[in-house]
Amino acid sequence: MPPLDNEQLNRLIAAVAAGDADALDAVYALLGKRMFALAYGFVHNRQDAEDILSDSFVKLARFAHTFRAGTNGYGFIMRIVRNTALDFLRSRKRTASENIDDFFSLSDERYSPERREEALLLEGAIGRLPALEKRMIYYRYYLDLTVREIAKETGMSKSAVQRLMESAEAHLKTYLTAGQNPTD
């Protein structure tokens, strides 16, 4: 996947807001897998995750005009997916919650065989993190929340979030590097 370009995403969201249906396809091409991975983490069912993905695009089509240009387009879209997934769970009378481990359990039988080894390495490294650090990684790298947003979400202070995030990233890098170089 190419690295995310927030300017490009901003332009695409603006194009959707202006009524350009092709821009929806472009957003899908750019973010479809990430959005699907987030949805799948909530429901653990491919069909349901694809339904959530489709519903998320309907919401994007309807509410793209509420996006403030120049702000975080990726965060805007992932927030739509997250809320759509939570609403989906509620509508099915299921508990609407986020189990962080589920967002790092993507390497099923359909996962790319060439990347499976690396995927298992990442899943193992995430699994070793304490629960709060795992949650920080999820908030920052899946949902692209800022420190301020994470602080509001968790009720923690911004400095506490920052410390926890730094610790999570340091631990994760250590585990990943050790896994990639097992003799170290």
């Binding site: 996947m1 690295p3 959707v16 009524g19 929806l24 396809d25 899908y28 897998k33 699907f36 991975a37 799948y40 491919r46 995750a49 694809e50 993905l53 489709s54 695009f57 309907v58 919401k59 994007l60 089509a61 309807r62 509410f63 509420t66 996006f67 805007f76 927030r79 739509i80 997250r82 809320n83 759509t84 939570l86 509620r90 609407a96 919650s97 790092f104 993507l106 390497s107 359909r110 996962y111 790319s112 060439e114 990347r115 690396e118 990442l122 920052r140 790298y141 800022t146 420190v147 301020r148 947003e149 509001k152 979400e153 911004k158 995030m165 730094e166 990233e169 994760l172 890098k173 990943l176």
Partner: protein, 249 residues
């Protein structure tokens, strides 16, 4: 405080991780139809807005002309004093493209928001009791009496909506209710709750309508009670809705 940058190495690892999943098969046709529908609605709103604006401009023009010509007509009617310029007409309003009434046709952009853009956060009873106990005591008390999940919607750091999903049994019948409480005292409204406007029936305190399907009543109610509540109740018991509304009012 400048926000932390993501670690590039971790970002690449997670990127690669997500990239290894099988391509999802999502259908975008509904989204494209929604987009066309949204554009049609906006064009219709713009046409209505400009029609209202044009009508206001016409009325203003007629008023201005009438006011400017009427004194002169009256003067001629009273008699010729030979004094020119004595009865000066009131100064005509300079023509202006700015109509001070123009914002009444459209809701202010800042007062309407989308739930999709808000952050959702589950909320516990203790927190809600402390923060909103004074204004929403009855709604929060339901959490002690029945099975209830509360969700706060946060927009740009402001709590805008409290949602309660409640399930209980009344006279042997299951009742599932959702109550949305406006936390902005009417300053902001969620676009998704627009369907609660214009309900069929009106009591002294709230408007409502009820449908019956598959053995259950689905009732929706809207009342500007304590901060404004939007209520949805589904049950085989017809009285479940009115009883809940009587409790909340």
């Amino acid at each position: 405080m400048e926000d932390m940058k993501k670690d590039e190495f971790i970002e690449q690892q997670i990127d690669a991780y997500v990239g290894g999943t099988e391509e999802p098969q999502a259908d975008l046709s509904a989204a494209k139809r929604a987009l066309h529908g949204e554009m049609r609605r906006r064009r219709r709103r713009r046409r209505t807005f400009f029609a209202v604006l044009s009508a206001c401009a016409c009325v203003l023009l007629i008023t201005v002309l009438t006011l400017s010509l009427l004194p002169a007509a009256l003067d001629r009617g009273v008699g010729d004093t030979g004094i020119a310029g004595d009865a000066n007409p009131p100064a005509a309003e300079p023509p202006t493209s700015e109509d001070p009434e123009q914002n009444t046709g459209t809701p202010g952009q800042n007062s309407v928001y989308s739930l999709a853009a808000a952050v959702q956060r589950p909320a516990g009873l203790n927190e809600l009791s402390e923060t909103y106990g004074a204004r929403h005591e009855k709604l929060i008390r339901l959490g002690f009496l029945a099975r209830a999940d509360y969700t706060l919607y946060i927009l740009d750091g402001e709590m805008v909506l409290l949602r309660a999903d409640i399930v209980y049994t009344q006279n042997g019948a299951r009742v599932a209710a959702t109550v949305w409480a406006d936390l902005t005292e009417g300053a902001k409204r969620a676009e998704e709750l627009a369907s609660f406007n214009g309900l069929e029936h009106q009591t002294k305190t709230y408007s409502y309508q009820t449908e019956f399907s598959d053995g259950e009543y689905l009732s929706r109610g809207n009342f500007a009670g304590t901060g404004g509540y939007f209520v949805e109740v589904q049950s085989s018991l017809y009285a479940a809705f009115s009883d809940l509304m009587a409790y909340l009012v």
